[in-house]
């Protein structure tokens, strides 16, 4: 499995991280080094093995379906880079 520049561009796009065109070859080569390392996993036979889910069997806790918090819009917005009138502000998304 080898990653080329197009794959690297596609992954960067999926991850929503801007990567300049001139940096793509180096990125692709790093990916190849890491994925080459990961390839070792293929040697392991995992037939009939269930993926691990927890350390010891544990049933997820249930709780009553009721509102437990809220009414703290100001606190929620306090760290926003841009917030106005109780809303997060982002560039226009609908024309």
């Amino acid at each position: 499995m080898s990653i080329d520049q197009d794959d690297a561009r596609r992954v960067a796009n999926l991850a929503r991280i801007r990567v300049d065109e001139e940096d793509l070859p180096a990125l692709a080569s790093e990916f190849n080094a890491i994925l080459g390392f990961i390839e070792q996993l293929r040697e392991v036979d995992v037939t009939d093995v269930e993926p691990m889910t927890s350390v010891t069997p544990m049933r997820l806790k249930r709780r009553e379906d009721r509102i437990a918090g809220g009414g703290i819009a100001e606190e929620v917005l306090a760290n926003a880079p841009d917030a106005r009138e109780g809303y997060f502000v982002v560039p226009k998304v609908v024309e």
């Binding site: 801007r18 070792q40 010891t56 760290n79």
Partner: protein, 492 residues
């Protein structure tokens, strides 16, 4: 004479309770030591005002009697923990300016027990690294030196390790996803413990890889680890993976008594090209446990070799998902946008500017292994390998093994700025520690000797799930016999 800041937690606790010292004096000594140690760059957000206020409250509580063990004890908190009103940015540029409105469960518990926070501590960005060099604040310097060479304190909890080793606080919180408590503890000659996954709540700890992350204490002794772990532990309804089981009185149960117990020595941890000093350390660890009355047995953990590759699928996959929230909308920084930039451009520019190279690399690798067509081939395959790694441990425990002894790291602390041929070379630092995270087990690194250059080395003990108490006894047996008292010579 050493200052109060060089006390251990248990010594300070006894003297505070006896009224021989005050938390105020103790806290002031730590704050002064931290101020002198700026060149170590361990403390990145000092909180002296909060510390003095907490110390005052602790003294009032101590005066009334019956205060918890952590009451009045100055601790440092890794920057990964959200602390109300105090910068908490996981050493990342993307969280610049972020001040949480809430307190993490771990820090809440510590504060309820009366602990004093002296500041936030440096780390690798989002806990991704083994040298504290990926931090947006710049690297932390190890208080230990080899000649004139500046060394890494390890990572990701490198600021916590350096702060404890240099006596800037009596203990510190760390987090461990692949070795991030145990490796820096080994590199700085302190004790670092990763509890069983689920023992300590993850709520309010900035997430890296949720199925592996676990917080734990970094301290000057095994007894201190027991004291601090107890204060940090316990069920939390806000973390659905936290275990609803009682927290033992870890210090009360601590005896160091391991007579008649069986310790496994995993053959797969004998690596080609391992430095002689590490081999010698491991051999001396075996003698110490034998001297304490334990029986040693060679064991096999056949899937050890594939633990690191499995980790480098699972951890980046979870990281890519966890770090998707940093988009420049709700918190942290947003890139300056050009006229006409749309929301996708905002995301892409913000994340390109805000994340460092290692974080970007791991987020993208994670994105790749989770992307359509590769999910089963990589991610699900790695999760199954993980089940096999866990089974290796279950099998030896079922065969009567009580604990496993290994070196904590493949080398002593390495120089800052060391170039690695590729990212994988750096990842090899975690080779002895990462299996423990994948299996969710408790592990502890105990300082046990010095290498020929006079640098500290640590031994790792791995225990059964939820048996931290027994594991601490093994650790104390090593500590008692190693007689490790070396401290870095103060040059900073």
């Amino acid at each position: 004479m050493d200052g109060l800041n060089s006390l251990s937690i248990s010594e300070a606790r006894d003297r505070l309770r006896a009224g021989e010292i005050t938390s105020m004096k103790l806290t002031q000594a730590c704050l002064a030591a931290a101020e002198e140690a700026e060149t170590l760059n361990a403390v990145v957000h000092p909180t002296p005002d909060l510390a003095l206020e907490q110390a005052r409250a602790a003294d009032a509580r101590l005066a009334k009697g019956r205060a918890p063990a952590m009451c009045g004890i100055p601790v440092g908190i890794k920057d990964l923990f959200c602390t109300a009103g105090v910068p908490s940015q996981a050493a990342s540029g993307i969280l610049a300016g972020f001040k949480p409105a809430y307190e993490s469960t771990v820090t809440s518990r510590l504060f309820e027990a009366g602990a004093v926070m002296t500041g936030k501590l440096n780390m690798d960005e989002f806990a991704m690294g083994s040298s504290t060099e990926t931090s947006v604040y710049g690297c932390t310097v190890n208080p230990w030196k080899s000649g004139d060479t500046a060394l890494t304190p390890g990572g990701s909890s490198g600021g916590s390790a350096a702060a404890v080793a240099a006596d800037l606080c009596l203990g510190a919180t760390g987090t461990d996803t692949g070795g991030s408590i145990r490796q820096p503890a080994a590199f700085t000659g302190i004790t670092g413990m990763k509890p069983t996954y689920g023992r300590v709540s993850r709520w309010g700890i900035i997430a890296f890889a949720s199925s592996l992350d676990q917080a734990g204490p970094m301290t000057k002794s095994v007894r201190d680890a027991a004291i601090m772990l107890e204060a940090m532990s316990g069920h939390d309804p806000k973390d659905s993976t936290s275990a609803d089981i009682p927290v033992p009185d870890f210090e009360g149960l601590l005896t160091g008594e391991i007579r008649g117990k069986t310790v496994g020595i995993p053959q797969e941890y004998r690596m080609d090209g391992m430095p002689a000093a590490i081999d010698d350390l491991w051999a001396s660890g075996r003698s110490m446990l034998e001297d304490a009355g334990a029986t040693l047995v060679d064991i096999s953990l056949p899937h050890t070799k594939v633990a690191l590759p499995a980790y480098y699928v699972v951890a980046p996959a979870e990281a890519s998902s966890n770090l998707a929230r940093y988009d420049g909308v709700r918190y942290g920084r947003r890139a300056t946008l050009a006229q006409g930039d749309d929301i996708a451009a905002m995301y892409e520019k913000t994340r390109a500017e805000g994340f460092g190279d290692e974080v970007k690399r791991r987020v993208m690798i994670g994105t790749y292994v989770l992307s359509a067509g590769f999910y089963d081939a990589y991610y699900n395959h790695a999760r199954k390998v993980r089940a096999l790694i866990k089974k290796d441990f279950e099998d030896v425990f079922a065969d009567g093994i009580d604990a496993i002894l290994t070196p904590a790291t493949p080398s002593a602390a390495f120089p800052l700025g060391q170039e690695f041929d590729d990212p994988v070379q750096m990842y090899l630092n975690d080779v002895f520690t990462v299996t423990v995270n994948l299996a969710g087990l408790p592990g502890i690194s105990v300082p046990a000797g010095l290498d020929p250059d006079g640098l500290p080395l640590g031994l790792q003990l791995i225990g059964k799930p939820w048996e931290e108490s027994e594991l601490l006894d093994f650790a104390l047996a090593i500590e008692d016999r190693a007689g490790f008292v070396a401290k870095p010579e103060k040059w900073w």
